[in-house]
């Protein structure tokens, strides 16, 4: 069963350990602008939301890529990026509806999450499990259960 990275903004503390881990694993330096995951925070409300590539099944970044640099890996849910084939046209950057494919002028490459090939370092670095790497068919189980538990408690009170 394929997995994907599930975000739980309600748990996110805004610490950016995921951002740091991604930058370090990919670039061996701490440069948040080189991270494939970003965290946006709303300080008045105290809310943070991590954002990274969703590995779309019908991926616009791969569809528009004229050279096959951005491509689906056979038999996998992963959309990967092959810099050697890339002509830096940045059509993938234009096409991604989430803004999750980014051009980095420092390395002259496209930055996009590749799930660290099935072992995402951001997930390992998250101290509060606000991002988890889960089986795609049961991805929302924990979220549903939180509400199911509240429902259960309400019933208990009535009974």
């Amino acid at each position: 069963m394929a997995k994907f990275i599930m975000i739980q903004p309600d748990k996110c503390t805004g610490c950016k350990n995921c951002v740091q881990a991604c930058s370090y694993v990919k670039e061996k330096q701490f440069r948040p602008s080189a991270s494939r995951i970003h965290v946006y925070s709303w300080e008045r409300e105290g809310i943070s939301v991590p954002m990274m590539c969703q590995q779309c099944s019908d991926a616009p970044c791969a569809s528009v890529c004229p050279t096959g640099a951005m491509h689906r890996v056979d038999g996998s849910s992963l959309i990967d990026y092959d810099a050697s084939k890339c002509i830096r046209c940045r059509m993938c950057v234009q096409a991604c509806p989430f803004g999750n494919a980014i051009y980095d002028s420092v390395t002259d490459r496209i930055l996009k999450c590749d799930t660290c090939h099935d072992d995402p370092s951001c997930v390992a670095a998250c101290p509060v499990k606000a991002i988890e790497y889960v089986d795609e068919n049961i991805a929302t189980r924990s979220r549903k259960k939180v509400f199911a538990t509240k429902f259960k408690e309400a019933f208990k009170e009535v009974a």
């Binding site: 503390t13 610490c15 740091q20 602008s33 105290g46 809310i47 101290p127």
Partner: protein
């Protein structure tokens, strides 16, 4: 260059000159960064006798060599200057992402000199640095300033700014970053206000690198493991916040109550961490690279005190709570929000209100002094109103804006001020916990708890338990904690990492990041060096050994109720040994031999 960026930014607000200088790497090796390195620069460059609110003062923003890396919970920065509240050296540190962002922009420090003639803000985008007009945001509170400056710079910029309190030079004004994070103590915000500098706005896109990746990764894994499996660092602080300490300190009879008349408060649980989590917490928050998540995003729904924001921390809950004889958590949290919005240090604010209440109930101030307001202990609405009035220097608030020492002295009763060296003591009763009293008495910034947090062994039993009431062994313990904290502050490290790790792990991280080998002894020696550097500045400013003290109430008035009933502080008995172990003479002055040993001669 690893750890340090190698570049220091120097901005003269009088002339508008902006310069980039190489960071002095010999000093960086000896004083590490943040608090230590910035203090070295300040003590080299300013006369300790200057008026802290004059253009002669300098204001230094300094992250540490570990800030901006993934070292866990190590993204803090210090603000260093001469402090208006104490007339001593100030280093107030704050979390959030501001410190790391300065590093990503390429700077180890920003040194601000002189004073602008009209409101200004500093806009840093990597190499591009610009002083801009801040007239449009002058007078705005902290969140509105933050939003307004992001709108004209970059929507994701990190903003450190002052609120109205800093502009009006309230002597304990804070500098706030990302709205809810504070460089709180000693009045660093008033210094920023005196320079007419409303904010520093920064965006950085450059890398912070480490010298030895293999050693660094190992050191990070070890530190993360030890902190995350520790009951306080790994669980307690995330679940309950620092406010978990209310019930703990009350249970050992050391929760100061009604301006330190007592050390026990019957209704403490109403404003403790358990109540905070149950009724107010929206979610835990973490600073940059934090794995502890003690920050509190909270909400108050009671229409009288409604609001949303961060806090309260333990010390804030205490000073607006039991210290003012108040148990209303809605009001306490609201007071905290107002401090964040106006830019005020919560501890000095609450303790100054408690002092005013004490003076009022003792008949030393009257209605004519307060502009007709009755100021009794235990009135939550009054307390919240006084916070607002102080931040804006309105009415009686203008007197509170000077802090409790000047307030009490104005009415002829300085003994009512619960301060050491004019800085209000934090939420730990020195009569019930002997070591912390000695730390307050000897602390380089007055009544500060975080730079010699002996509460850890004396109350929490971390890393080992000692008897809170004993005086034996406390001078050595205080010194160890003071030196350790000086070194860890200088890395950009959060004090709470010591709920899990200590000098061994920090020395390993610092070595791996900078490529300079620090043994545990080197690390502790750097801390001692920094402590002595600060001490020398303070001695040259105004203090002598007779100022190494806490209020006489702590020696003369025993705790009335609770588990520490009958206890008084014995600071005087511990002080000679403290001086001796420090290598200082009987007058509390570092000996020439000690200064030479520390390369400070």
């Amino acid at each position: 260059m690893n750890g340090w960026t190698g570049t220091t930014l120097r901005v003269n607000l009088t002339t508008g000159d902006i310069k980039k200088e190489p960071t002095n790497l010999q000093d960086a090796r000896n004083f590490i960064g943040a608090r230590g390195l910035a203090s070295k620069i300040l003590t080299d460059e300013i006369d300790p006798k200057i008026d802290p609110l004059s253009p002669a003062n300098k204001l230094i923003f300094a992250p540490g060599p570990l800030s901006g890396t993934m070292a866990p919970s190590m993204g803090r920065y210090d603000v260093v200057c001469k402090a208006p509240l104490t007339n001593l050296i100030a280093a107030s540190n704050s979390g959030g992402s501001f410190g790391p962002e300065l590093k990503f922009a390429g700077y180890d420090m920003v040194i601000l000199e002189g004073a602008a003639k009209k409101p200004a803000y500093l806009w840093i985008k990597d190499d591009a640095v610009e002083l801009r007009d801040a007239s449009a945001v002058w007078g705005m509170n902290v969140p509105d300033t933050t939003d307004a400056l992001r709108a004209v710079t970059d929507e994701d910029a990190k903003v450190a700014c002052i609120g109205p309190a800093g502009e009006k030079k309230v002597l304990f004004a804070s500098i706030m970053n990302e709205m809810g994070r504070a460089a709180g103590r000693s009045g660093v915000g008033a210094v920023m206000g005196s320079k007419m500098l409303k904010a520093i706005v920064v965006v950085g896109t450059k890398p912070v690198t480490v010298a030895d990746p293999d050693a660094f990764e190992k050191a990070v894994m070890v530190a993360r493991e030890k902190i995350s499996t520790h009951p306080v660092g790994g669980t307690g602080l995330r679940v309950y916040g620092t406010d978990v300490l209310v019930n703990i300190l009350n249970s050992v009879g050391s929760l100061p109550t009604r301006n330190f008349h007592d050390g026990y408060f019957a209704n403490a649980d109403k404003f403790g961490g358990e109540s905070l989590t149950a009724k107010y917490l929206t979610r835990p928050r973490g600073c940059f690279s934090c794995i502890i998540s003690c920050g509190r995003a909270t909400k108050v729904t009671n229409p009288k005190f409604a609001g949303e924001g961060e806090g309260p921390e333990y010390e804030s809950a205490w000073c607006f709570g039991s210290d003012c004889g108040i148990d209303d958590m809605d009001a306490i949290t609201k007071a905290n929000y107002i401090c964040n919005d106006l830019g005020l240090d919560t501890i000095t604010m609450g303790s100054t209100i408690a002092c005013a209440m004490d003076l009022y109930e003792s008949g030393h101030i009257s209605l004519k002094d307060t502009g007709g307001m009755a100021v009794p202990f235990g009135d939550p609405e009054l307390m919240v109103k006084l916070v607002e009035m102080t931040g804006n220097r309105e009415g009686f608030g203008d007197q509170l804006a000077e802090g409790s020492y000047r307030l009490a002295t104005r009415y002829g009763h300085p003994e009512f001020s619960m301060t050491a060296k004019m800085q209000e003591m934090a939420a730990y009763d020195p009569r019930g916990v002997q070591g912390i009293g000695l730390n307050f008495a000897t602390n380089n910034r007055g009544g500060c708890h975080v730079r010699g947090y002996t509460i850890s062994p004396e109350v929490l039993g971390v890393p080992f338990k000692v008897d809170q009431h004993a005086t034996e062994g406390k001078p050595g313990l205080v010194i160890t904690f003071q030196n350790l904290t000086a070194a860890l502050d200088s890395c950009g490290t959060c004090l709470f990492t010591t709920f899990g790790i200590g000098a061994d792990e920090l020395a390993a991280l610092l070595s791996a990041v900078t490529g300079i080998q620090y043994s545990t002894e080197d690390f502790m020696k750097a801390g001692e060096r920094i402590w002595n550097l600060e001490r020398m500045f303070d001695l040259k400013s105004w203090i002598t050994a007779k100022d190494d003290k806490i209020p006489e109430r702590m020696m003369k008035e025993a705790i009335h109720t609770g588990p520490s009933k009958g206890e008084v502080s014995h600071v005087d008995q511990m002080l000679p040994e403290y001086y001796q172990l420090r290598g200082w003479d009987a007058k509390g002055v570092p000996t020439p031999e000690k200064l030479k040993e520390l390369s400070l001669a």
